[in-house]
Symmetry: D2
Subunit: 337 residues, 4 copies
C-alpha cells in the first residue's frame, strides 16, 4: 500500500483527489491537512465522505507528513504551494503539486503571469511536468511533480504531437469553455448561482496564466491565442482549436503513439468529442475537421477538468511514480448521464 | 472473477451498471446484449466507454448468456423484463433485474399500476427484493433479485425501521424530487432540454407505480401519500417525509442497526442531507426534525437515483450473492462538486 | 405618469422591479437609491440596463424621495426596511415594501421569527398586505403596502378560498421548491454555483419566517407544515400542498371568484402547473387531484418568485393604488422556453 | 392598432414572438395558424398563454390571413417557409419570415447549404434582410422581410462596421456558443435533458448553414471560420471573434454610428459582455481586447437568441415597417437573474 497525504483537501481539486484515492485499492490515505479545518473530522467538514474516511484534518507539518507518507499531494490555490512544497521537499517527501507553482520553468514568466515572486525557484529544475504521455520516464523517479493545469491538458494533448507538422506561423486560436468548478470554491459574485446559471462569458482575454504553460509545453514553437470561457455546468472543458496550417496534412499519423495511451482517445477526422463522454473520467478525447473552404484545421478536445484535468492526472502520475498499473483506480468510463 | 452479462446496457441504468462493473476488480463483464445496438461495438454506441470495453453488443440469447455468465443483469424498461428474465431463469442463470417487473409480490397490484398482465408471475415467489439492509440473508442464495426502485429506496430506508414506532394512522406524506435521468432515455417533449431546464413540476399524483412497492416494503402497515416531482438536474432524489406520529418519539434508537450498514448514513436530528453529498455514490443519507409547533416528524433523505437508487444497489446485491466484500467497487464518497 | 423611486434597486427583487417599471408605459422611474452604489450610473452597476436607464444611484434621503415620487418601492433585506419605510412615511411618501418587515401584524411573531425587535410597529396597522385578490379595496387608498412573500403567495392563493371548506384539523403539508434567486444576491457558500448546481436540499424545517405570514393570511384557521426546498434553477416556486379534508369536496366552486382575477389561473382537477408556464410572468397557476385511495386532496401551484412572487405583484399593487389598468406593464405570458 | 398574424406559433421563435406581441400596446394579434394544433385554443396548446390569448389556432389560409392582417409573421422550420411566404405574398400580405428561406440572395448557396431547391427564388430580390441598423430605410417599405439568423446577428453587428478597417486576409475565427433553444423544439436525443445537461460540444464544423449568410452580410469581403457550440442553458449566444488584423487599429471610431442604435451596446475596449446582461432583451452587447503579444483583435458579443436573435429583431422590423417607435414593446433591460 502506498501511503499518501493530502495538503489542502477541502478545495475542489483536493476533494476529488480524496474521492479517487479512497477508492484506490493500492493506496492508503494516512493524513489530510487543512488550514481552515484543522482538528475537525473529514466527514464533518466534507459530508460526502462520512462513513468512508475516519481521518481528522491536521495542521500542516512537513516533517510529520514526510515521515508518514510515501507521497504527499498539495492542493492549495495558485501561488500558495511554493512554501509547503519546499518544506515537504526539505523534509524528504515526494510531492505532487496539483497547483500551478512548479509548472513554469522560467520564474520570470511566473512573476509576469502570477504577479508574485517565486520563493522556491530552486526547486523548478527538479520539478517534472506531470503530463504522463510526455514525461512518463521522468515521472518514475520524480521527487516533485507539477500536475498540469486543466486548460493546458486539453490543448497540449492534441497539439504537441503536431509540432513537426506544417502548422504555419499564424497564432493558433484556442477557445476553451470550462465548467465553473474550475474557478475553485472561493466565493465570488461572478459565480453565485443566479449570476452564473443561464449565463456565458469569456474572461482574462490575452492574460490568462495558462498561456505560458501551454506554450512552454508546446516547446515554444507556436503562439497560442487562448481565450477561456465559462458556461453553466460544474465539470468539463471543451477546447476548440483553429490552426491555419501551411498546407493541408493528415494529423492521424502524428497521433500514432496515442494508440497505447490508456487515457487519450483519438476520435479521428469528422468525429467530435463531448464533455459528457469524459465526465468524471480521466480521458482526454479529441477529433478534427479540415475545412477545405477556409484552409483551416479544426481540432476539438474534451476533458473533465477535475479528473482528467487535475485529480485523475495526479493519480496517474502517482501510479507511474510507484510502479503501479497506470490505470489503477482510474478505470472509469465517462459518466453519462 | 465473477463473470457477468448485462441485458439492456444502453439505457441509463444499464450504462451506469456497465460503468461500475468495468471498474470492479472482482468482476468481468463478458457479454452485453441490446436489441437496438446488436452487432455494434460498445465504444461506438456509447463513446464514454471507448478504449475501456472491447465488447460488441449481441442479440439476447438466454442460453448463451446463462452458459457464459455467473450472473446476468437485466436493465430494460418497466414491463419488458418479464420475458428475458423468465428465459434466463429457465436457462439456469442467476438474474438481477434492475427493472420493476419482479418487485411486487401481488400480480393484481402489478396489473393495476403497470396496466399489463404479468406473464411470469410464477417467478415472483423466488424473487428477492434487493434492498440489502433488509434482505441480506435471502440475497446470499438468491437466483432472482428484483433491484428496488429509486424512489422506494429513498423512502423505505428511513421509514421501515420506524414501523414499530408510534407513527399514527394519518397517511405519511412523501414529496420526492428527482433528477431527469430517472425518466430514462426515451425521448419525450417533457424532457426536451429547453422544456425542462429552469422548470419544476409534479406528476402522476396518486397513481405512481412505486406506491404499491413502497407500501409492500413498509409491510403494508402504513399508507403513503407519495407525490413525485422533477427538477432540472440529471441525478439525485431528495425525499421529504412528513409523519404525523401519535406522540413525539426519538427515532435514533430505531436506526441503531444502520450503524453497521456500509451505505446508510443516519445524520441524526437537525441534520439534513443534500443530493450533492451522495452524488455518484451508493449512499442513502437521511436526517430528521421534530416540529413541536405542529407535532409532526419530518424526515429528509437523499440518494443518487442511478447509483444508490439503481446500479450501485444492484452491484451491492451482486457482492452479497457471491460473497465478495459488500463494498467492493462502491467505495466512493459523494462527488462534490 | 406615476413617478416612482426604488430604494435598494441592486438586489434581485429591486432589479426585477426596475426591469418591469422601465417598460411600464404609465410609470416614470425618477430615483434609485442604493447604499453600496451611491453616485454610480445604473448602467455601470447593472449592465443589463445600459442605454435604457440614465439615472445614477443616490444616497437614501426620505424627504427628497417623498418630494419627487408619487410612490417609493423599498427592496432591502429582511429586517432592514423598517427604518427607511418609517422615514419615507414620515416624509409623506406612499410606500410599497417588497421586504418582510410590514407583513406580520403581530410584532411578537416578528420578534420570534426574525429575531429582531420591530422598530416601526406603529406603522403595522396602516400596512396593507399587498395580495391583490384579497386586499384590492384597501390597496386603492393604501399609504403603506407590504408586498407578500413569494412562498406565501404560492400557498395563500390556492388555500385561502378553501377556508370555509371541510379542510379538517390535520396540519396541511406544504412542500415548496424554490429557485435560487429566492435566496438573494448575498454571497453564501451554499449558493456558490458548483455547490448548488445538480443539488437539491430542504432547509429551515419548521422555523422558516414565512410560516406566521402564511397562517396569518389563512386567518389563523389552519396549521401549515411548511417545508421549503431549493433546486438548481434561478426562478420559480412549485408548491405541493397535501390537505387531509374531513370528507371529499369539490374545490372548484370555492375558486369561482378567481375567474375575474387577471393573474390567477385555476387549472382545475387533474391539471397541474409547471414553473415554465409562469416563468417571467405575474401568474399564479394551480390545479388539484383527489386521491381517493388516501382520502387526501393534493393541490400544486406555481409562480415565478421574482415576478408573480415579488416585483410583478408589487407592480400590480401600484396599478391598483393609482387607478391604472391592473394589468398594465404585466401582460406577459410565461416565457417558454 | 397593427393587426398581425403568426404562422407557426408553436415553435420556440413563434412562441416568443407571441409573448412579445401580446404585450405590445400598438399591436393586435388577430390570427395564429398551426398545422399541428389547428382548431385548438392557444391556452390549451401553450398553457403559458392561458387567460391572456383567447384565439384558437387555425389552418393556414393565405387569403384569409392577408385579408385580416396588416402583417404576417412566419415561424416554421428552415426550408418550410418558402411555400407559405409565397402564398401570403401572392395574396398581398406583408410578411416577416423568421426562418431562413429568404435570407440568402443566391439560390445556389441556398441549395448547397440547405440541401433543397428554392421554390420561391423569384421573391428573393424583394426580400429585405431585417437587420435593422443596416436596412432601416429598406424596411420602411418592405413587403417581405427575412429576419436574420441568431448566430449571424451576433457576428454581423460587431464585424460589419469594421469592413473598412485593416482586418487582414486571414480568415476570421468565430467560435459561438448557443443555448439549446436555438435547436428548436423538435425532439432529438442530443437534446434530451440528461444528454445535454452538464455537457458541451461543437457541431457542424465548416458546414453550418449560417456561414453563407454571415459572409453575404459582411459583403463577401472577409472569410469567416464559424464554429458553433452548444452549452447547457436555454437562451443566449456568446460569440468570440478572433481577427488577425494587418496592424493594430482602434475599433471605436468604426462603431460611432451605433451610438444612436437603440439595441446595440458598444462596451468598448476591455469590457466584455455576458449573456445574462442581454437575457430576454433585444440588445446586442459587445466589447473587445487587443492582444499585443499575438497581434490579434478579440471581439466578444452576446445576444438572447430568441429575442435579440429572433423575435425581438422581428418586432423591431415591424415597428420600422409601420412607423411605430422602434423600441415599442422592446424596452426591457436584460433579465438578471
Amino acid at each position: 500500500m502506498i501511503r499518501v497525504g493530502i495538503v489542502g483537501a477541502t478545495g475542489y481539486g483536493g476533494r476529488e483527489l480524496l474521492r479517487l484515492l479512497l477508492a484506490h485499492p493500492g493506496v492508503e490515505v494516512v493524513a489530510v491537512a487543512s488550514t481552515s479545518a484543522s482538528g475537525e473530522a473529514v466527514g464533518e467538514v466534507l459530508p460526502a465522505f462520512r462513513k468512508l474516511c475516519g481521518l481528522h484534518f491536521e495542521t500542516f507539518d512537513a516533517d510529520s507528513l514526510a515521515a508518514r507518507c510515501d507521497a504527499v499531494f498539495v492542493g492549495v490555490p495558485g501561488g500558495q504551494s511554493m512554501a509547503p512544497v519546499a518544506a515537504l521537499r526539505a523534509a524528504g517527501a515526494r510531492v505532487l503539486d496539483i497547483g500551478a507553482d512548479f509548472r513554469l520553468k522560467d520564474p520570470a514568466l511566473w512573476l509576469q503571469y502570477y504577479k508574485k515572486e517565486h520563493t522556491a525557484a530552486g526547486l523548478l529544475p527538479e520539478s517534472v511536468y506531470g503530463l504522463v504521455p510526455f514525461y512518463r520516464e521522468a515521472l518514475r523517479g520524480a521527487q516533485l511533480v507539477a500536475v498540469p493545469g486543466c486548460y493546458p491538458i486539453s490543448l497540449i494533448v492534441p497539439l504537441r504531437p503536431l509540432l513537426d507538422a506544417p502548422l504555419g506561423a499564424t497564432p493558433i486560436v484556442a477557445d476553451s469553455v470550462s465548467g465553473i468548478s474550475g474557478a475553485g470554491r472561493t466565493l465570488n459574485e461572478a459565480f453565485h448561482y443566479p449570476e452564473m446559471n443561464e449565463n456565458l462569458k469569456a474572461y482574462k482575454l490575452g492574460v490568462h496564466q495558462h498561456v505560458p504553460e501551454i506554450e512552454q509545453e508546446l516547446l515554444n514553437r507556436v503562439t497560442v491565442q487562448f481565450t477561456p470561457h465559462v458556461a453553466p455546468l460544474t465539470r468539463g472543458i471543451l477546447s476548440t482549436i483553429t490552426v491555419r496550417p501551411e498546407r493541408e496534412f493528415d494529423p492521424a499519423p502524428y497521433y500514432a503513439a496515442y494508440a497505447d495511451e490508456p487515457f487519450v482517445r483519438v476520435l479521428g477526422p469528422g468525429a467530435l468529442p463531448e464533455v459528457k463522454h469524459v465526465r468524471a473520467s480521466n480521458y482526454c478525447d479529441f477529433g478534427w475537421h479540415h475545412d477545405r473552404r477556409t484552409g483551416n484545421l479544426l481540432i476539438v478536445s474534451a476533458i473533465d477538468n477535475l479528473v482528467g484535468g487535475t485529480a485523475g492526472m495526479a493519480l496517474q502520475c502517482l501510479n507511474v511514480m510507484f510502479g503501479l498499473d497506470e490505470s489503477e483506480g482510474l478505470r472509469f468510463g465517462g459518466m453519462t448521464p
